[in-house]
Symmetry: C2
Subunit: 600 residues, 2 copies
């Protein structure tokens, strides 16, 4: 496993200088006394210490050992339970939960910063506590008062964990095909029967009970997505006082063998008339699920940034240390056997790419997490609507774009190591394998793309897009006289205009052929991702440039500006390809009939 | 493991319709009676049967079991030895070897087509016989008559295998740092001592002896690359009659744990005064090595195409079978629970991308293999020079570009499977893990890029480039009046002009700063790769269009044209990004000092 040091300087830059947390949370009563640079620092200190010293050393172990299933019992890798106990003891599970059930009520933003570190240090381990949040959030939003009383306190304390049971063998992206049945019992509970697959943290030995949130169909439910309801199904039944009772009929029948995240138990769960409780209205399960789904997608975006950072750190250390060949312009370290490979421009470009995606991704995910906080507490209906629209737009962008960039960065990380990148002991290939799941789960990149272009952009008739571009235009106008960043701002302006014109182009095409939306969607998603990251990089550059103009000699700001420059000069050129592909239209994609695709 | 069927129709299209093998080999006496469509078909039938039925079923087994080392003995996965025995029995190791030592003297082209199939079915297994060719080739080119007599017959029969021992812990891309020592013994042999790492097929139980070709330094050798010599070091010493004798002092001290190719033994080899024999002139080992290196790079390019094809086949079968959601324009298979995912444009785009890279890659690698054959036998010095120049230029392009595209295609393969792509039993993730080595070994993508732009393009002052573009221009002129392919030909023309102008741009920049070459190299490599593939796709389109014009109703030709169109409309747009990046120059890459890269 490569070393990892929590990038505290940059995290603080985003928190205190870009998002200005003390100022931006100060208007909300809920967050009084809960947000300050000092408080965040204290939490982040503890979390960084925990991540670097407790779970980072378990990352390679977890990958090697994986989880095991014997006699119906799932065992996690050595050390995972002790680390989880410590995490609970430190109070992390309750961080953002509501205070009435034992939570600390702190901002999502803080949890996002912490999740960045847990993921960078040990993705597989981090998924256990992370999945619990989905269950907590669902019960909190849609549960009855009694359900909250029974389940929330122990989920919040971390004594229990949670899962989300959506997928079945025939129903993944298309949850309308879910077949699991829920038959009413006489006592108001339901008998849940069916098989769920790909259930992350679906069974394990970390906590005394597991609360499954399960999608199933009531008898005579309408077919498709409008006939799915949501149920709470605990691993151990719970008595009226909220104590663990007898074993429920839900068992892990097998564990999947996967490319990565070996330390996390990906379970096939069999429900055999397991006792469950309806949560939310009948047949509205999928709607309720979206509460969780959007949060899960944002959390996945954070995973993308985390691995971009971890692979950057690993590659950077190696690039400074590894000696190979001489700089083309002549030896830069003549006293050494060869120059460190960081002198080679191809290596340096990969490092700058990783740095640009990690740091840009950090600003984007923290900004979104901040908006989630504000949307949750603002009393201003217009502001709430505006932010919810931003979140609707940016969720698929952040999820898909940052995970794809995480895959790219983890590939660069291996590439900087040369052949050593392929060898397990260096840990770079594990980062790449772990990272790869994120473009698949919580909705594939292609599902995010169609959500973005179809449901968010076209269906809102451009309102969601204009809401966001208007905000960026406001930022540009605000800083257009600031020396040193004008070239970036005018490039950003051009991109906004191009974004709108591409949108109009697809909207027009889609009028006569709806498949044009699908054909344009993935390129459109990437285009949107690059522009979105250009916006946050402009924000970072604006802050850094201001500091330099004010006389700061901290080289952090110079490095920030240089990275912004690299992003604008080299990575933004990728928009040219995506724009050109969109303008080609979908005809060449449709021209070959399915039966003409063959090879024998 | 996904099913795989040798794409015989397309292989024959390339062999008989694009390369026209009966015609193009007919002028060479060496290949009289050795090349015909029928003969190739017979060999390919046997090879396809062997690959599909013998080694494909071992691919998942090999991945799961890997190799093991116990008491100094390396054991390959179950079934690997039996399959190797059968391969030897079928006579494949001797296919292209010289007839005087028991070879069949057949074209490299045939072996390339067969290697495509072995790799697609079982990459790890295929490396064992493949590595032998490096050893054979080196001994054949640089060995003494006696060395040939002793080693070649048993390597050619497959009774023994070979390896290439280049890399050491501190010396990978930079072989100038090799430290292994060769001290002369009194009898003319040498005592070889040192540690080599990453030795593929370095030890195993498939063959009775292994012939290592080892880079080492003689006493008082000059430092760096000009002081390295090449040695033959057999695992078991060999007596004067060429029979296996006592064990030599070379042992496998450990096996690497890797991301993929688990079935191939990647060894750390310790040479402790092992008996070795100088091959080729003193201190010229690296030069001799290039004979092997270029062949290995071309063989790696074939691996890229093979996995593009295998992942295409896997994804295609799944996309036709898997039901999820409805086409945006309305249900296309209303009688089914949902539409097969091949109706979704995003899925279809991924399939077309895989198809375009697999089929385009096939033409390119077969074309190169054909040129290797011609260069080996032509009596026409000008033709030989021209072809050697083409090979010099296209080797880094084919190696780097086709392996990177193989990585991309294997990623699409997983993506089409959604979450199931991450699960080992489907085999798609193994393809991605196995594929990943190819951008690292035999010179990383970045090493190929600098070889292309620095050594091949700029150092030849454009001669190598003009040689190739001249050939393409000739092709364009020849077919410019053919209906239906003009838009492709004029696009190709434009790209050639752009390629040259980008080359001039970098050449000019590099005059004042040699690092500009490095900064442009990777984008330049990709640009070159896309144009090169555009050339071979134009060739394919030209043939297909001619058949259609002549009245053929074979839908193969329609599919070929549609795929060419997709390549030209969608994939070629990627050149826009690479061109723009080159024109940005390297300044933003150099602007950050190595010490300013940090994160804490």
């Amino acid at each position: 496993m490569p070393d990892y040091i929590a990038p505290r300087r940059d995290m603080n830059f985003v928190l205190n200088e870009v998002l200005k947390i003390e100022e931006s949370y100060s208007g909300f009563e809920y967050y009084q006394d809960k947000v300050s640079a000092e408080l965040f620092n204290q939490y982040l200190d503890v979390a960084a210490d925990f991540c670097q010293n407790e779970i980072l050393p378990l990352n390679a172990v977890g990958d090697r050992q994986g989880c095991s299933l014997k006699d119906g019992v799932v065992t996690t890798p050595d050390g995972f339970k002790a680390a989880y106990d410590k995490y609970v003891e430190l109070g992390f599970p309750s961080l953002t939960a509501r205070e009435e059930f034992g939570g600390q009520g702190l901002p999502n933003l803080l949890r996002t910063a912490i999740q960045e570190m847990t993921t960078a240090c040990n993705w597989a381990w981090g998924m256990y506590p992370s999945l619990s949040h989905g269950a907590m959030r669902t019960i909190n939003h849609h549960g009855t008062e009694q359900q909250k009383q029974i389940y929330l306190p122990k989920l919040i304390s971390g004594q229990w964990t949670g899962t989300m049971c959506l997928t079945e063998a025939q129903a993944g992206s298309d949850l309308g095909q879910v077949r699991t049945k829920a038959v009413p019992n006489e006592n108001g509970s339901y008998a849940i029967s069916g098989e769920k697959i790909f259930i992350s943290a679906g069974d394990h030995d970390l906590a005394e009970n597991i609360v499954h949130i399960v999608l199933a169909r009531l008898p005579n439910a309408p077919a498709g997505t409008r006939g799915i309801s949501l149920f709470i199904v605990p691993k151990f039944n719970v008595d009226a006082e909220g104590n663990k009772a007898d074993r429920n009929n839900v068992i892990c029948s097998s564990l999947e063998h996967k490319m990565g995240i070996h330390g996390n138990a990906t379970c096939v769960l069999n429900f055999d008339a397991a006792r469950g409780y309806l949560i939310g209205p009948e047949h509205k399960g999928l709607l309720c699920m979206f509460t969780f789904m959007n949060a899960a997608r944002l959390s996945t975006a954070t995973q993308g940034l985390a691995i971009s950072e971890a692979s950057y750190q690993g590659a950077l250390a190696y690039a400074k240390d590894r000696l190979a060949l001489r700089a083309l312009g002549g030896a830069q370290f003549p006293e050494k056997a060869a120059d460190p490979i960081i002198v080679h421009p191809a290596v340096r470009s990969m490092l700058l790419t990783q740095k640009a995606f990690a740091e840009g991704g950090r600003i984007l995910t923290y900004l979104i997490a901040h908006w989630v906080d504000v949307a949750g507490v603002t009393q201003d209906a217009a502001e709430k609507k505006k932010i919810e629209d931003l979140l609707a737009l940016l969720t698929p962008i952040a999820k898909a774009f940052l995970t794809e960039m995480g895959v790219e960065c983890s590939k660069h990380g291996m590439q900087v190591f040369g052949g050593h990148g392929y060898i397990s002991e260096h840990g770079m290939e594990q980062l790449a394998r772990d990272m790869r799941i994120a473009c698949l789960y919580e909705g594939t990149t292609e599902i995010q793309a169609i959500d973005l272009l179809g449901r968010k952009i076209l269906k809102s008739d451009g309102v969601l897009l204009n809401n966001f571009t208007g905000m960026i235009e406001h930022f540009i106008a605000e800083h257009q006289n600031q020396t040193g960043i004008q070239p970036m701002l005018s490039k950003l302006s051009e991109l906004l205009a191009e974004w709108k014109s591409l949108t109009d182009f697809v909207a027009e095409k889609a009028k006569t052929n709806p498949d044009e939306t699908g054909a344009a969607s993935v390129d459109y998603l990437y285009f949107s991702g690059y522009v979105t990251l250009a916006y946050v990089w402009a924000k970072a550059a604006q802050v850094a440039q201001s500091q330099i103009a004010a006389g700061s000699t901290d080289e952090f700001y110079q490095a920030k500006l240089a990275t912004a420059q690299f992003y604008y000069s080299k990575l933004l050129n990728r928009t040219k390809t995506h724009a050109a592909n969109i303008l080609e239209g979908g005809e060449v994609v449709f021209s070959l009939d399915p039966e003409a695709f063959k090879f024998d």
